[in-house]
Every structure is written in C-alpha cells, then in structure tokens.
C-alpha cells in the first residue's frame, strides 16, 4: 500500500492569481526513493510543503484534493503531529538551525523536547542519530561554527531523530560545495538503505540517477513524466522545457545525431553509462 498519496491536488498561494500545483496525483510506497525534478517555478517546493503539512497548516491559500500519509488526511491532523510523521529539510542550512541551542547535541534534541520524549530515550536517539549522520565528533560544537555541509547534516539529524516515516528534502544540497554535497547525499543514501521513504527535490541529475527508484518531472505545476530514472532523465522533451540535463546525456545526444552512439541504446545519465556506450560505439 502507498504510504503517501496525493490525489488531484491543486493549490494556490494567498494573493496570487494562478495555482502553483494543478491536479497533481502521486503515490509513494513505503521505503521508496522518489526524486522530483523540474525547472524554476515548477512547484517543487510547494509540493514539498503540501506533503509535509505546511500547506494547509502554515501557508493558507486554496487547497483542493487530498493529501494522505499512512491513511491520515492532512486536513484532519495538525502541524506538530504531522511533522512527527513527515520530516522536512530544505536548502539553506543556516536558516534551519533553530537558534535556540548552543551545541549540536542540544540542537538535535530540540525536536524531541518539543514532542515530549522522555530524557533517557531522547539521549539514546540523539546518540544514534549523531552516529548515523556522521556528526558525532561535532556534538559539543556550536551549530553556527560549522561548515555548510556539516550544518546541513545537523539539520538532517534534527529531523531524522524524530523518526519520521517519510523524509521530504527540498534541494538539500543546492547551497553546498561538492564536499558538502557528497556528505549530505551519503546520509540520504544511508537512510534510504535502512528503509526510509524519501522524497527528494534535486537538480543534480547524476546523483539522482545513482539512487532514485523513480523520478517525477514537474512542469508548471503538473506532472509531465514519471518513471525509472534512466528513462525520465533522458527523455527528449526535457531540454526544451528547461529541465536540468546531465552533460553525459547532452554529449550522447549530440553524438547520436552524428551516428556515434550505438543505435537503440538508451542515452546515458552518468559517467559510467556514457563510457560504456561510447566504448561500444568505438569498438564498431
């Protein structure tokens, strides 16, 4: 059974003329890793807010259709109960630090204090999460003294410690350098491997191809394409609609036009796929 179900979701922010999400229907199964791609203004962040309960509980505006997680309708719940099930992390690492705590350890425990988790269990969970996200050694540091990648891992840990059933991530690496990106993706991949359901909005196509089960392409508030990463990410319609395309796909497409890519072979997304394809065509 699907853990997250969106049915005909249409949403319009207050004081705006047009809906940002138009009739979006999406199902995500327990343990699945779904990545959402789309050009700027496609409604990716809005989709994240809709799944994580911030629409309709934080952003007003007009919502129609149904959003359910584990069978519960978002309208029938409240935000603080909802966030215990659906964790949200977003782009700016700095703005996700609560500012109420002086050490990373306390920062990670903040959500559990709010949820009223007993102290012993709180400590166990914080220790476990710090180890899992690889920030054990930062426990006594101030969250503000960390690098972007470290801060983003603290934000992830702060959400993961609440043991949500779904993790919603809105471009968590877009403000990070390559090292920070790798650190954060390492944590996300590990969570997915442990069975966490992940919905990730991301531009870095080569990373997506490596570990998403399914890719959803969002365009002007509607789902344009949905399917296996290799299929969606190489779809010929994407470049014209301003989606981010892997440079390996671009190179292979150009090569294919000159007959330099093996006929009938799917275009590559990652370096490995490109090397494999090009060496096949070189052998001929």
């Amino acid at each position: 059974m699907a853990l997250v179900t969106l049915k005909n979701v249409t949403y319009q922010y207050p004081l705006t003329e047009t809906p940002v999400l138009k009739n979006v229907s999406l199902e995500v199964n327990e343990g699945e890793f779904v990545t959402v791609i789309g050009p700027n203004g496609a409604g990716k962040s809005t989709l994240c807010y809709a799944i994580s309960g911030f629409i309709p509980h934080f952003f007003k505006g007009e919502l129609s259709g149904s959003v359910k997680v584990a069978g519960v309708e978002v309208r029938d719940s409240n935000l603080s109960e909802w966030v215990a099930n659906v964790g949200l992390a977003f782009q700016n690492p700095f703005n996700q630090i609560s500012g109420a705590k002086y050490t990373v350890y306390e920062e990670v425990a903040f959500g559990l204090e709010n949820l009223g988790i007993p102290r012993e269990e709180m400590k166990n969970r914080v220790e476990e999460t710090l180890a899992m996200t690889g920030i054990r050694h930062l426990a006594e540091r101030s969250p503000y003294s960390l690098s972007g990648g470290q801060q983003q891992r603290v934000s992830l840990a702060s959400i993961l410690v609440m043991q949500p059933r779904v993790l919603v991530l809105d471009e968590p690496t877009s403000q990070l350098d390559p090292i920070g990106t790798r650190e954060v993706f390492g944590v996300i991949r590990e969570m997915s491997r442990r069975g966490m359901t992940v919905i990730l909005v991301e531009h870095k196509v080569e990373w997506i191809a490596e570990f998403a089960d399914r890719v959803v392409a969002l365009h002007e508030g509607e789902i344009l394409l949905e399917g296996a990463p290799g299929k969606v990410l190489t779809d010929p319609r994407l470049p014209d609609k301003h989606f981010g395309i892997s440079r390996y796909t671009q190179a292979a497409r150009a090569a294919a036009e000159s007959g330099l890519w093996p006929a009938g072979r799917r275009l590559p997304v990652t370096l490995d796929e490109a090397v494999e394809g090009f060496s096949k065509s070189a052998q001929r």
């Binding site: 630090i97 500012g99 109420a100 002086y102 306390e106």
Partner: protein, 259 residues
Amino acid sequence: MHERLSLYIHRESPLHRLNPLTKLTLTFALILVAFSSPWYWTATGLIFAVVAPLSFVGKVQREYFWTALRLLAPVTGFIFVMQSFFLPGGETELFQFAFLRLTSETLAQAYLTAIRIFVMVSSFILFLLTTHPSELMGDLTRRGLPGQFAYVIVSTLQIIPQMQAKAQTIIAAQRSRGLDTEGAFLKRVGALVPLVGPLVFGSLVEVEERAIAIEARGFTSARPKTFLRELPDTPADKLIRWTLVVLVLLTFAANLWLS
C-alpha cells in the same frame, strides 16, 4: 568572528549547581535589598560581604572582577562624579568653582546611588557568569513561561553576532561598488542607508524559513515538553529562595518602620 554574547563560563562550583531560579531570586533579592534598605552602608556591605565572596564560591572571581572593573567602574564612577557636582541642595560646602558645587550631602547621596547601581549590575554579571542561558530558559519554561518567549530571548542572543557578520558582508559588498563609508559623521550616517534594506528585508525573508524550520521540529506541539538538561531543584534551593524572600520583606518592613 564568533563573538560570545553570553557571559556564561563553565566551571564546577556550588553556585553553578544551584537551580537557575534560585540564582535569579538571589539577584533580585540583592537589588531590592540594596535599593530599599534604610541603612546607608547596606549596599556597600552587600558588595563586600555577599557578591564578591560569591564570585569566589562560583570560581569566576577573575572574570567577575575584570568585568566589574572594565564595564562597571567607569559607568558608576561617572554617575558618582556627575551626581556629586550637580545634585541640588546640601549645606556643608566642600568645594566651589564656577557652576560646580560639591557638598558633603551630595557626595554622600551620589556615593549611595553609584554603589546601588554597582550592586545591581554586578549581581547580574555574577548571575550571567554562572548561569547557562539554555538552563535558565529551560527552567523557566518548565515553570510555565511560554516556550515562544524563551525562544525569542535565547535565539536573539544567538542571532545578533550572525546579523553583525551579515552587516559586515553587506558593507564590504557596497564598498566594493564604490560606496564611501568613511569620512565625516553625516557621510557615515548616509552610508548606513544602503545597508538597512538588504539587512532588514533579508532578515524578514529568513524569518519565514526559520519559522518553517522550527515548526518542522514540532515547536508548537501541544504535548508537554521534556528537557534534555537535568535541572535539579533541591530542598536547599527552595530553602534559599524562601529565606531570600523573607529577607527582602524584612528590609521593606524596616524601610517602612524607620521612615
């Protein structure tokens, strides 16, 4: 870069182990007694008999004396000098030059005001040196202070240095585009204008994101909160607090009785 706004110094001491509310009560008791006591030398006595010895108990005597000397001595010194010369009245003239007039009465009154302010600020310094802001707010929240209120206090303390750093970045960016930030006073005031927009509006945008971030962590949860830090409130704490309350009431009574 990472300025400390909290004065807190971590040490192992009986004063650090006291419940934050007990220390807060002590601070206010010292202030109330210093200001309402009918005896002239009470405030001075409190400094030498209570506040200064307590700084040794709390093992923060060095920081305490240093802060008192650097911050407090100039301010109270200034108050003392100004009041001595400009308070009206007084019979026993000690000194007169142009509009300056010093009498032993104004001198006594000025000393009293200055030393009372000294007690007030220095007992706060001692309190802040030995009480972690998180512990204080955690304890007060547990006693019924709204979580939002505690959050605003603690996060403001944390965010001010971040704002300063951001202001520096914006100033550097504006200067690199030719903004002149040096020279005459009016020119420098004018140079602040291009700083205000990015800093204030940027911060307002950030507020929404931070609100989402703390909501995502259940900040407004209706469940009873729990606390990571253990804050024992011992019978000794309660005894000290009630004793202090009684002492303050006795001082008030003495003040009424003798006046």
